[in-house]
Symmetry: C2
Subunit: 301 residues, 2 copies
Amino acid sequence: VTEPVRSVVYVNGKYRPSEEATISVFDHGLLYGDGVFDTMFASYGYIFKIDQHLARFARSLRAIRLEIPTPIADLRRAVIDTVARNGLNNAYIKVVATRGISAEPLLDPRGCTPTVIIFARPYLSLADPAKVSTGLHAKVTSIRRVGMQALDPRIKSLNYLNLVLARMEAYAAGCDEALLLDDHGYVCEAPGYNVFLVREGHVVTPAYSILEGITRETVLELSAELDIPSEIRAVSPYELAVADEVFLTSTAGGLVPITRVDGQAVGSGKPGPIFSQLTRAYDALQESGRFGTQITRAAIG
Amino acid sequence: VTEPVRSVVYVNGKYRPSEEATISVFDHGLLYGDGVFDTMFASYGYIFKIDQHLARFARSLRAIRLEIPTPIADLRRAVIDTVARNGLNNAYIKVVATRGISAEPLLDPRGCTPTVIIFARPYLSLADPAKVSTGLHAKVTSIRRVGMQALDPRIKSLNYLNLVLARMEAYAAGCDEALLLDDHGYVCEAPGYNVFLVREGHVVTPAYSILEGITRETVLELSAELDIPSEIRAVSPYELAVADEVFLTSTAGGLVPITRVDGQAVGSGKPGPIFSQLTRAYDALQESGRFGTQITRAAIG
């Protein structure tokens, strides 16, 4: 039986050893996926853009009409505290809030007591680090991203089975990662990632049916600082075939190059120069502590 | 704090008191909604169509490529045993299987140890019984059902936030229940229910973008036995406005009349004669024990 590695986990205001960090089987977060989350990371002893992440988490809560008893300011302290209690300088951090428990486990969000969870793990990458250096092979999947008319991808919800199935479809085709199209057939996301491509020196990223990725936003900011023109617009699958570079961005992974799409090499078939330039700038940004919040228990009293 | 009512719950082969029936916060069923379920019910001491439910559960498992260590025959015994251990003759029964736990909680279904849960509660109805006698008021929601190209509604998955949000939209409009349209604008489901309407003596139910409801199937079988013609086809929202009757079907609720849609009375504004005829036949079917499996601990050794 697989056991998660031990750590200290925040569950409804208490810090518990991970083996006791549990929720009821009656929690609506489990039974109905009725909840939201946000993922943050720390590196060089700083949590990156914590307030942007918490603001997005608050938007996710609002979008599903979930009010939790913990004010965002308290949640901020608890996030820092959870990372500190685990003794981590580099961390993968997740905050989860669910509708919680009601007297009976029916599909009814009324009368529930919410559940709030925070955990921190030594920094994890969504992508296999061995493959990141040479680039991932991606599959454009037959499975489409859930549409905004059903459940907006901007909501970081507990309903990611759609993305899991896309990943499994990619694996079954011998690929490392999935690229999903939206309802209209435009490229939108990879599971847990935003998508970028490079054409004629411009970085291009989809505008619609996507998560408002904070790494995506950061890459666009860095592009501006580096005088690399950027375009936020609809991206058709055709553009994956003719792009000079394709890469993904994620809090849990940073920038990840895609060097093959559906068996065909992207550009030179190696991670490209603009990807490399942006990756260096992204790493330097982390090391600088800019946009970072120091992990200190003293700071939180 | 709301606490679920006490009962005995099956968790990975062990029977636990409900307050100890928990899963890890790292379970992929919680973090990603990576899992499936099925709901059954018992009445008059019989579990209704248990093998049809378990066959559907097995299809859901296959559709998300989840293999659980428990054979379906063992699961069948565990379902009966769970109901018996709770001393129930009338029960709401749920079986849940999740991808479970992996070494690290990333969005990757590989290397997980699955979780299997079974619980039984005294029979619960999805709809407020006080309202069922006069009929529910329904809202056609702006939120659409998740499309089959993203996550087929035939999969009873842990990703029901789409349905929760539709319900909340209906509540906010002063209604009791939501009616959802599919990607193409056709009527498909209510949260946890299939939809039926009656026109000129025919019962009509949507063909596409729906759960393969076992109560739906049963109502179609009873219609045939009662010589009521039935049609399985695309249903446009227009037909809700001109229908003589509208009703919902669900394992957790049986047949539920809708007497108002978006503020307008359905037909006479009261539960209709075909609804009443089918409801009587459905109740008689339960009482007869036909399609029923007796809840006996002796039977399971």
